[in-house]
Structure formats: structure tokens, C-alpha cells
Symmetry: C2
Subunit: 276 residues, 2 copies
């Protein structure tokens, strides 16, 4: 296809299909006991963005509407000045690679490779990369926690802090160690909150290999990667988990607990660490 159309089959409202969600079998815990349950999680994919044949970025996203996505991105980053500068957009058959053929000025290229800023919710580097220290990692600890203890701690953790009450705008992370020591912090970014709380525990010369990490936000892949890297065996959130997060947790030995609220929780992987 050639501009000015650049139109494919834009069915623009996400339907529930194999591109956007995935069925998984989970264990759902409540005071009445554990039941096995079929649940759906969001499915995100790594989509490669290319400009004139050269890859410049990978984006974790729902692999739909990739043409609109890359066009909006390049225009918002001032890499491409206007739509008519785009000659063509080529989407690979699997939908995981999208290449824009466009006239790009020198300043446009500079904007593309400008210094990066890590913003709220963002994570880089090791995330999903073929990095040995991550790939070979498997968290093997037999450390266990009672389900009732988790539910109690979750109730405490989910209470809004003074800063959340005031601004409605922070994520919280808490590490609870085997000896009961707790470290808590907040930040605008989920990843920042985790980095800060792990850093703090390590600076206090505590081992976190037998601990539970509570976070307030969604458990997507990069959060689980941090657990793997630090060997934190159990991670819990009141929010949802994503499919890639679940996959990494499964493959690297992390116990993943989501929707932990109202005295219930969903156990997605490695439930053996949670005692009834």
C-alpha cells in the first residue's frame, strides 16, 4: 500500500481475540478454600518498530493497529513531520514487525535517537533481552508463606497512604522478609518503587531471597524480571497480571499472585509456596 491511504483492515475497537487476551488456568484462593478457575489475562507482545528498514525500538503492546501505532508514535516524537512524508508502512505477517518507509530529515533522525528518559511505568534493558544472567535464572527456594498471612498483609498494604490520599497518584512497593522486617516505599513509577524498596533492603544488608514483594500496580513482564534478578520468590498485587508476566514467572520460578483484594487472591504460577 502507498500513502495517502495507508489503510488496512482497521477494526479499531479491540475485540476479545487471540491478539489481545489469553485463557489461563489459575488457582483462586478465598477463605472458603482454593478452587481451580479459568481466567483471562491481557496478552501483550513485543512489536519491533523500524524506520526505512532499520529497527529503532521494541514496544510491549497489544499487537493490533500497528500501522496507526507507529504513525502516531513517529509524529508525536517529531521524527516524521507530517503524514504525507510517509510513503508506505509494511506489516510483517505475524504482526510483530512494522516498518515505516518515509522521508526523514536530519533533525527527525536526531529526535529518534535523542537521549532517553525513563518515565512513570517504564523499564529498559534486561527486560526480555537475551541476557545470560536472566535467562539462566530460576528461583528455586522452598520458602513458603501461609495464605492467611498473605491476605492479612494485602489488606494492610492496600490501604491508601497519606501521599496517595493527597495526590491520588502514587504506586507503592513493600518487601516483607522472612524475619518480619518490612520495607515500604512509593513512587510515581511501579518500577521505581520496586527499585527503591529492593535497594533499601540490600543497603540494610538484608537478604531478600526469602521475602514477598507487594506492589500496587499491574504485574507485567518487567516487574517479574526484577523479581527474577533479585531472586524474590513471591510477588503479589491487587491489580491484574499480564500474559508475558505470567510466562516469565512460570519459566523462572516466581510465585505470581494477582487481584489480591477483598480477602481473595488469584494464584497464577508456582502455587506450592502458598500454604492453605
Amino acid at each position: 500500500m502507498k500513502n495517502p491511504l495507508l489503510k488496512g483492515n482497521f477494526d479499531f475497537v479491540n475485540s476479545l481475540d487471540e491478539h489481545s487476551c489469553k485463557s489461563v488456568v489459575i488457582e483462586r484462593y478465598a477463605h472458603t478454600g482454593i478452587e481451580v478457575w479459568e481466567d483471562s489475562v491481557i496478552k501483550e507482545d513485543r512489536v519491533d518498530f523500524l524506520l526505512n528498514g532499520k529497527k529503532f525500538l521494541s514496544v510491549m503492546c497489544i499487537a493490533k493497529h500497528q500501522v496507526a501505532h507507529i504513525v502516531g508514535f513517529l509524529l508525536s516524537e517529531a521524527v516524521v513531520e507530517k503524514l504525507s512524508d510517509i510513503d508506505d508502512v509494511i506489516l510483517s505477517d505475524d504482526g510483530l514487525q512494522v516498518d515505516v518507509i518515509a522521508a526523514v530529515s536530519q533533525s527527525g533522525y536526531e529526535n529518534l535517537f535523542r537521549e532517553k528518559t525513563l518515565t512513570s511505568g517504564c523499564c529498559i534493558g534486561v527486560t526480555g533481552s537475551a541476557q545470560k544472567s536472566f535467562e539462566c535464572s530460576y528461583v528455586k527456594t522452598k520458602y513458603k508463606v501461609a495464605a492467611r498471612t498473605l491476605l492479612e498483609k494485602i489488606g494492610e498494604f492496600n490501604k491508601p497512604s497519606a501521599l496517595f490520599d493527597t495526590t491520588g497518584c502514587v504506586h507503592k512497593a513493600q518487601l516483607i522478609l522472612e524475619d518480619g522486617t518490612e520495607f515500604t516505599t512509593e513512587d510515581i513509577g511501579r518500577h521505581n518503587a520496586i527499585d527503591k524498596v529492593v535497594g533499601q533492603a540490600l543497603l540494610e544488608q538484608k537478604s531478600i531471597k526469602k521475602s514477598v514483594l507487594f506492589v500496587s500496580g499491574r504485574l507485567s513482564m518487567e516487574m517479574i524480571v526484577k523479581c527474577v534478578m533479585h531472586k524474590v520468590p513471591i510477588v503479589v498485587s491487587k491489580a491484574a497480571v499480564t500474559y508475558q508476566g505470567l510466562k516469565v514467572a512460570h519459566e523462572h520460578g516466581i510465585t505470581l499472585v494477582g487481584f489480591a483484594r477483598d480477602e481473595k487472591m488469584n494464584i497464577y504460577t508456582h502455587s506450592g509456596r502458598i500454604m492453605q
Copy 2:
């Protein structure tokens, strides 16, 4: 200070102070009319991370606990192998620069500069950079929308979609143009959803310079930057706004509306576009 301590004054639970929140005067709209109100917003800052004197990343975060933050980050990214490899951490007087002096292996440096992946909630590039096309931009349109119309649209927009109902894990973005045309999309990342919906409108050859952008997530700086770049004059969310988001909106002529829910909304900047 020298390792193994690396300890400063870790008051680790965020208190409500000038580092974490900021008072602002806003207009609060409800059916009973508009009142002026003093509100608090979260204050994020750009903190520069350095390794052995060389800057490698800027992070938008609450400028507190920077030592724990960079230590946790470098260990989770496998740049530094263990805490004892860190010789010192130097924090600038203003708290906006933190430099780790550490023994780093070749593979550690490689992990630092590994290919980046944009994850859910992340944005790069133009965000806050000294980029001319952004710095000189000011959205001047006199386009106006009735407050009642906004509240109605917000009510519609805030209803969960089928995908959210199923997964509990997506952000939504919607553009409503002057002629009533609506574009809606969802993604795991707020920034992705905005890129997709803007891209779609442009691919349909619609002007978005008289439009309202509704988003489901927090309005931090990078979301507002996208509005500036695309000249979308009004942006609305049911969630909170951040101080840097508010600052950019103020300086670049964007009407910023937060906490738009339950038939109320907070107008943070350029309220002239919203008619009573």
C-alpha cells in the same frame, strides 16, 4: 561515604513534603457550578543517573531515596553484580543527580547499553528534551467545549470495555472531534493507546486540532507532550495529574482536566476552553 554502609538519612516512607507533592489552585466543576479549590498534585522530578561519572539515564521519579533507587536499578539490570562492587554513591545537593562509583565488568556495561524496550507506561525521546519543535509549541486554538458535554462523554468513556472486564488490565484512549467523530482504542500502555488513537484519526485524514482526548490513566508529562506535539487542545482523565504534567500543560496551552468522574472534574489549566 564508602561502602559497606552507603547509608544516609533514609526516612523511607514518603512524608508529604516539597519533594513529593505540590499545592496548586484549580477550578473544580460540578453541576452546581465552578469553585476555586486548593489541590495537591504529586511532584515528580527528572533525576540523572550516572555510573563512574558518566550519565546513562534520566528517570522521572519522586526525588527521594535516590541512593536506594540507583542501587536497586543497577542490580536489577545486572549492571553491577553485587552490593560490595559499589564503592560509593554521590548525591548532588539538589538531589537531582546521583552517581555510583563501582567496579563494572564488560558485560555489566553491555547490559547498561543494551537495546531498549518500551514497556507499558513508558515514553521516550521528545519528552522534556530541549527539542525545538516542542519548546516553541503553544496550542492557541479557541476551540471550546461545554462542561456538560464533557461530563456526559466522561461517563460513557469511564464505563469498562469488554476487554477491561475480561482482563482488568488495559488503558483506553478516545479522541472526540469537533464534528462528533469518535476514535477509541485500548492498549496495555497509556502512551501506546494515545499513539494508536491519534494515528488512526490522522490516517482517516481528520484534523485533531479541535478535539478532546480522553485517557484512562494518569496525566503525567509525557501524555501532555503528546497533546502538544499533535495540537490536541483538551485532555481529560478520570485519574490524577502530576505536577510536571500540569506545568507542561500550563506552558504549552493545553487544557488539563483530571479526576473526571462521578459528574465532577478538576480543571488544572486553561479553563477558558470549558464553557459552563
